[in-house]
């Protein structure tokens, strides 16, 4: 059966899986943003934490997804089987690029600019909101872009833990030795990743243009 025939016969299921996939990516990237950007900012204020926190994020990144699921299944609240466990794993994988780029972006702000802000009597909060974050926005957005694109691909592992998404077709195809099925999952995931990369790239360029 060709890929087109497959989609024609299974359009409702395919759309449901695409929807689940988008949901998983959106929620997990959202949480990673909400945790990662403040986390990165915090690291610039507490330099001693930088090594341990980035080290931990690095280590988490290297845990294979199936092993991570194995650890997560018995845990209360964040574990079990289903979408929640998949989102926890995706957040874990998305954190590193966001935290690191936020830290790098802010740490890279010219000290003279920061001094000028202080000289104008800015509080730390004002300095962050009006000087550091705007100047670091490009680098932070680059981190978000990496995290999102990687998430779109990684979200296929949700199929391993009963959370649906396009990974369902990939896992089913791999188990049944059916290449059409694998493609039916991989192709839309790849297109989604390209689209996310393009959109966020556009936002990055807009930002760079505004900064000029």
């Amino acid at each position: 059966m060709s890929l087109f025939q497959f989609y024609a016969h299974n359009s409702r299921e395919a759309l449901t899986l695409i929807g689940q996939h988008l949901y998983l990516v959106a929620v997990s990237t959202g949480i990673a943003l909400a945790v990662g950007v403040p986390g990165g900012v915090l690291l610039t204020r507490r330099p001693a934490w930088r090594g341990p926190v980035l080290g931990l994020a690095n280590v988490l990144q290297t845990i294979p997804s199936l092993a991570l699921f194995g650890f997560l299944i018995p845990l209360p609240f964040i574990g079990g089987i289903g979408a929640r466990t998949a989102i926890v794993a995706l957040v874990v994988y998305a954190l590193l690029p966001i935290v690191r780029n936020t830290y790098t972006g802010i740490a890279g702000v010219d000290p003279a600019v920061r001094e000028a802000g202080r000289g104008m009597g800015m509080t730390d909060g004002q300095l962050l909101a009006m000087v550091e974050l705007p100047l670091a926005a490009g680098v932070i957005l680059a981190g978000i872009r990496v995290a999102t694109v990687v998430s779109v691909g990684t979200a296929t592992i949700a199929g391993a833990i009963g959370a649906g998404g396009l990974g369902v077709y990939i896992f089913r195809g791999a188990d049944m030795v059916n290449n059409t099925l694998i493609l039916a999952g991989a192709l839309p995931a790849a297109l989604m990743a390209l689209a996310a990369d393009g959109l966020l790239g556009l936002a990055e360029r807009k930002l760079a243009w505004r900064a000029r």
């Binding site: 199936l66 699921f69 194995g70 299944i73 018995p74 574990g79 079990g80 089987i81 289903g82 199929g159 391993a160 833990i161 009963g162 369902v168 896992f171 089913r172 791999a174 188990d175 049944m176």
Partner: protein, 295 residues
């Protein structure tokens, strides 16, 4: 076009050369195995049994690949013996629809292999490696579950989780639910097969479909229920050997016959657990089993 012919001729020459090498390797017996623990273990058992009963040198080519790799290897004479499952040979190699009649499947497979491939099926070892419906031992005791048909009354309160293959296959979940009248609280969760064991052991699912001889079943405090309506097709394990080898060395067939009926499903689960859960060396496991079971 001419290039293609030359290419074909070159390939034929290469094959001929390989065959010649195959014959020239003398009377070394090559035992192969598929790429999973049980296949490696059984190959090691067969290899040690041939070594000690015939004195012929045995070469091990374990963990080769899937069913088709082993099948092609034995037909090409790259290996002489490997362990196959009747149901796999019947459906995957011979392309028949699954059949429940175990003796019928064995007879059909043995006859077709002899005729089409020059391969001889030895006597089955005594266990099936088929799908198994697995529950927690605690639940089995509380609800008195021994057979799959005992599950129907508790199923509406239960959550099932299955691997993708089981949900898709002709002899998988849909047929099982029909055969046993099983209705669960929600549609079964589709997930990676390896993780279903964890989910069951940790109480996140109540019923899964595993492999009947998987070592994890015992290690995680789980039990496999008896397929009392004989829904799953038979997958009896037995050695498959090249007929020409057995013709030259009839003592190999006699050595293999000694293993017939000696390994129960329970015993195979224990052997797999020694390798997969306790990470013991498979050669040592096989040696110990032979010392204990075949004096």
């Amino acid at each position: 076009m001419a290039g293609a012919v030359t290419g074909g001729r070159r390939l034929a020459l290469a094959c001929g050369a390989l065959l010649a090498v195959g014959c020239a390797r003398g009377d070394r017996v090559v035992v192969g195995a598929k790429n999973f623990t049980e296949s490696d273990l059984l190959a090691e058992l067969v290899a040690q049994q041939i070594e000690r009963r015939t004195g012929l040198p045995v070469e091990r080519r374990l963990h080769l690949g899937g069913t088709f790799v082993c099948h092609r290897a034995i037909i090409a004479g790259k290996i002489d013996v490997y362990v196959e499952y009747t149901g796999t040979a019947f459906t995957a190699i011979l392309n028949h629809a699954p059949l429940a009649d175990r003796d019928g499947v064995y007879r059909a497979v043995a006859a077709e292999y002899a005729e089409r491939f020059g391969l001889t099926w030895g006597k089955p070892f005594g266990f099936d490696n088929t799908f198994a419906i697995v529950v927690r031992r605690r639940d089995a005791e509380r609800y008195g579950l021994r057979r799959i048909s005992d599950v129907a009354p508790v199923a509406p309160r239960w959550k099932a989780a299955f691997g993708y293959e089981f949900l898709e296959r002709a002899d998988g979940f849909a047929g099982l639910a029909r055969a046993y009248g099983l209705r669960f609280a929600a549609p079964p969760t589709a997930m990676a097969l390896g993780l279903t064991y964890r989910a069951l052991a940790d109480g996140k699912a109540d019923l899964i479909a595993g492999n009947s001889t998987d070592g994890l079943i015992q290690a995680l405090g789980l039990v496999a229920l008896e397929d009392d309506r004989h829904y799953f097709p038979p997958y009896e394990a037995a050695p498959v050997a090249r007929a020409d080898l057995l013709g030259r060395h009839p003592q190999i067939a006699r050595a293999l016959d000694e293993l017939a009926g000696k390994i129960s499903e329970d015993a195979m689960r224990r052997l797999n657990a020694l390798a997969d859960v306790e990470h013991q060396d498979i050669a040592a496991i096989a040696r110990e089993w032979i010392a204990r079971s075949l004096p």
